[in-house]
Subunit: 72 residues, 2 copies
DNA sequence: TATTAAAGAGCCGTATAATGCACTTTGAAG
DNA sequence: CTTCAAAGTGCATTATACGGCTCTTTAATA
């Protein structure tokens, strides 16, 4: 899942839940500015910030195997 | 997936592929120090750093829905 | 025990994420 | 057009991730 896709998924999830950026900021404990930057594609959030946001939205990070590993 | 679990998964994946931290650093473009800190649980990597590491290990970030969303 | 590879950790400068505040832009409803 | 809520942006400060260098620790093997 690339960056834009992550953003899109999170943004849509927030909107489905009818939560504003401001509310998300308050509930998650992440600064409003940080959320705005992230959703507008400007940021490179830390894992912790991402997890705080996801938790409020009822989501979590998981890891998936892709096909190509170290090209050996 | 919580922090420790992510670390554990990534570390194990690296070991399964028989890649050293040093090689992972070189191939991924992430600093060795950063990888060491991350794997020893000291860090809070940015999403970009995480993605660089995962790509080399043949993995990627994905988002999963959990049960509880905003407790409304 | 000595050697060596891999991993962990201290020190520290640089880059940038996180944040607040104020202002602007956008879009919907009246 | 006006109003209002939500989202986006500029600027500045603080916190911290990134990374190199060096040294230590750990574990495996000779």
């Amino acid at each position: 899942m690339h960056f834009e896709e992550l953003i899109k998924t999170i943004k849509e999830r927030r909107q489905v839940l009818q939560v504003t950026q401001e509310t998300l900021a308050e509930v998650s404990g992440v600064g409003l500015r940080t959320i705005k930057q992230f959703e507008s594609g400007k940021g490179n959030p830390t894992l912790l910030t991402l997890q705080k946001i996801l938790e409020v939205l009822g989501m979590e990070v998981s890891l998936k195997l892709t096909n190509v590993s170290l090209n050996k």
